[in-house]
């Protein structure tokens, strides 16, 4: 594998680590199966691209993308909390609606960003090559987001969010407004996804309405894969696992693309994803079995 492809995998992995963190927040912390991400990812891309092309500062545009994603998350949560629609269905409704909304925002299915001023442009002007500085800058940004999320989940408000997902009845008995917590958590989660979409569009040259296909699967693969590698005993291990899982997934993809001797091609990626996620789900159980056999395991 060339250095360029390796760093490229890291770069894409870091962008999707934001998606993994978002999926961790919705699926794991809030226990809210959220498919909105397939719509909020291209929404972030659409908002950022459309704004950048009309001359808005790239950083502001990216912030707007975060806000747009958060709004999408709020809609899904509102459908669930106020209209009492099942969370999975509520998220599907929002996702479907966003397809049309994204087309409206962009005005056409593809908004090109090649040659425009993006958040990555300042890094291209540094003495080091872009394919090194971009992953480094992204790494710093994503780690910052991860640390911020760790801090937040340790605050009173963040703990209330965790309780809402862990045991909503008990949470209410402790005075937590679970409706509000759900709205806040979903907004935060999809805001991160919108941010990821904006960054992806800027790094890959265009916002396209098809960007959302399969984002949730990738997010889940990253979260679950990360949990297999780093058991999520505490919050900071879980979020770190999201980062690691996402990057490992992308490296696996890069490996599949680069391993002609195995004969794998990009077409086989869906199968590879399924095998990876399956292995990640089974592996912890296998580890425990072996641990017990050697006498090191802890009784369940």
């Amino acid at each position: 594998m060339s250095l360029f492809a390796f760093l490229g995998a890291v770069e894409v992995g870091l962008i999707f680590a934001l998606v993994a963190l978002a999926v961790y927040l919705s699926f794991r912390v809030l226990q809210f199966p959220d498919l909105t991400v397939d719509g909020s990812f291209p929404l972030g891309a659409a908002v950022a691209a459309t704004l950048i092309v009309t001359g808005v500062d790239a950083y502001l545009a990216t912030l707007a993308a975060f806000a747009a994603g958060a709004a999408a998350g709020l809609v899904t949560a509102w459908l669930n909390v106020r209209l009492k629609i099942l969370h999975l269905l509520a998220s599907i409704l929002t996702m479907i609606a966003l397809y049309s909304i994204n087309l409206r925002i962009m005005g056409r299915p593809n908004v090109a960003l090649l040659g425009e001023q993006t958040v990555f442009t300042p890094f291209a002007e540094l003495p080091w090559p872009g394919y090194v500085t971009t992953p480094l800058a992204l790494g710093a940004a994503v780690v910052a987001v991860m640390l911020a999320l760790n801090w937040y989940l340790g605050t009173g408000s963040g703990l209330a969010l965790r309780a809402t997902g862990a045991n909503p009845r008990m949470a209410r008995a402790q005075g937590i407004d679970t409706d509000r917590a759900t709205l806040l958590g979903m907004a935060l989660s999809n805001g991160l996804v919108g941010l990821a979409g904006a960054l992806f569009a800027q790094s890959q040259g265009a916002a396209d309405v098809t960007l959302g296909v399969g984002v949730i699967v990738v997010g889940l693969a990253a979260v679950i894969g990360g949990e297999a590698v780093i058991p999520p005993k505490v919050v900071w291990l879980a979020t770190l696992g999201c980062l690691v899982g996402s990057i490992l997934y992308r490296l696996a993809v890069a490996l599949a693309l680069n391993s002609e001797f195995i004969g794998l091609q990009a077409q086989d990626l869906n199968l590879i994803t399924a095998v990876l996620v399956g292995a990640a789900l089974v592996l912890p159980g296998v580890q425990r079995k072996f641990g017990r056999a050697i006498g090191r395991g802890r009784a369940p």
């Binding site: 490229g8 593809n110 098809t210």
Partner: protein, 319 residues
Amino acid sequence: MKALRFAAGVALAGLLAAPALAQTKSVAITQIVEHPALDAARKGVQDELAAAGFTEGQNLKWSFESAQGNPATAAQIAKKFVGDRPDVIVAIATPSAQAVAANTKDIPLVFSAVTDPVGAKLVASLDKPGGNVTGTSDLLPMDQHVGLIRQLLPNAKRVGILFNPGEANSVTSVKQFTDAAKAQGITVVEGAASKSGDVLAAARSLVGKVDAIYVPTDNTVVSAFEAVVKVGTDAKLPVVAGDTDSVKRGAVAALGFDYYDVGRQTGKMVAAILKGGKPADIPVETVKKADLYLNAKTAPAMGVTLPDALLQQAKEVVK
């Protein structure tokens, strides 16, 4: 002794010369999704390169990856290819081309089947691309298509157009068709289908509102073309297509080009670059040759008589 040294010298020279003589060029192709037209284009590139003297396995290293419709995969394919530093990267369809262009400013990129290269910001202008990117655009000469419809139905006033608003190429095609139609006094009614399952309903929605249906080179609608033909025959509504394969599947007429030919046109540009040309100097090409295909079987079923003038012009008439 002298003979040995001489032999060694020849051998060494031979070893050094061999790579220079049989210098292997590498071409990497990235495709957004697999699809008969795009695959045909790829084959066209491959065949043209062979005709120009570049054969896989001998002096050509050929890599191909399809992103299976997944933009993140397209991004990683682009990064892999840029890291491998081939002599030319060929990108089929807009998203794949943009992904490559975002990752390299110096490796030559030749795109194929991109309808609007300027809109996609791949090149500065069609005549002077100016960077490392050039290629072939599958822009359809829409005024000719409108003209074809008028030749079949001289009294047509309204034409329906079926497309997927989510396909960038189609949106451009629809706009150009509508402009060309307006210039020739015809109003256009749009029928949208965002996935192949919606095509039947979209086609039905045009019945009674239009005199003919036109189908551009839209991946979604073309994949469900039989549904459009069914509506056409049931409602006696002539269906005209933008790609020639659809005539075999039931379209009355098509003025199109073969994506294989587009591929070969692209292949010529790739060969030129492999032989030393620079993308910045090679203008973007649009397809010149348009062939007329007619279907004499479905014509009466759709309520149309094929004029002799057209039958004579046709490259192929399906019976």
